[in-house]
Amino acid sequence: MDKIFYIISALTIMCALMVVVSKHPIRSVLFLVGTFFLISAQYILLNAQFLALVNIVVYAGAIMVLFLFVIMFLNLNREIEHIKSWIPATAATIASGSLLLIFLSAFKSTLLEKPEVSDYQIGLVENIGEVLYRDYLFPMEICSVLFLVAMIGVVLLNRKENESPRKIVLP
């Protein structure tokens, strides 16, 4: 079982690196889909089946299709960016590497004792749904308002502004 974990982790890190390294945006999107599927595999290993399904449906199914659609729509697949200087890349690597070191030292100094838990079935659909609609009902409803506002925002952003104003016919 631990071998499966290590293989999936190595593949996840490789796919995520390829997202950053790939020159073409379409290849980046495809590697990102692979990363999401591998993260879903980790969720299944952790006994969180519901989140694994939602991850595949929402991320790999909806968000990635949106990305792919925008890339095709803007016809970006031929645009290859040229890295002019190595200085910004080196500075970015040093900055993010120091953040990684901070994370690792913080994790090392944290005491992680294994608690005595009796319920390992929390990730199943019925348990998640029960908690979601019992304890987290209000945030769940706020989420629907968030989606509505996002939808209205998208429609307003992409509205044509140079249309001639409508004539108002007075009775």
Binding site: T12, Y59, V70, L74, E79, Y120, L157
Partner: protein, 109 residues
């Protein structure tokens, strides 16, 4: 007593934390290095997923479902963010004909 998943018996939580820290590092590196704004957006998604993985792992190891609920809310916020962000990108591309973030400096007010 429920059946303990084998992964929880054999793999320690620190290894999941290490994996999510590395994924967050890769996402941050992409945000800082890449110039194409769509790839910058995808790297933000990698960072969100790294945090999601950490929350799921912690909640699975502690037997507390609050972390997994938070992951659901993170996904909802990410979906809303992507839809609005891509609409903004399409609008900027219509005006400037580029997705290079270095050329967006003319947007400063």
């Amino acid at each position: 007593m429920n059946h303990i998943p084998e992964i929880i018996r054999t793999i320690s939580l620190e290894q999941y934390l290490l994996l999510s820290a590395i994924l967050f590092f890769i996402g941050l590196l992409g945000v800082l290095v890449r110039k194409n704004i769509i790839i910058v957006f995808m790297c933000i998604e990698i960072m969100l997923n790294a945090v999601n993985l950490m929350m799921v792992a912690t909640s699975a190891y502690r037997g507390d479902s609050a972390g997994q609920i938070m992951v659901l809310f993170t996904m909802a916020v990410a979906a809303a963010e992507v839809s609005v962000g891509l609409a903004i990108i399409v609008m900027i591309y219509k005006n400037l004909k580029t997705t290079n973030i270095d050329l967006f400096s003319q947007m400063k007010g």
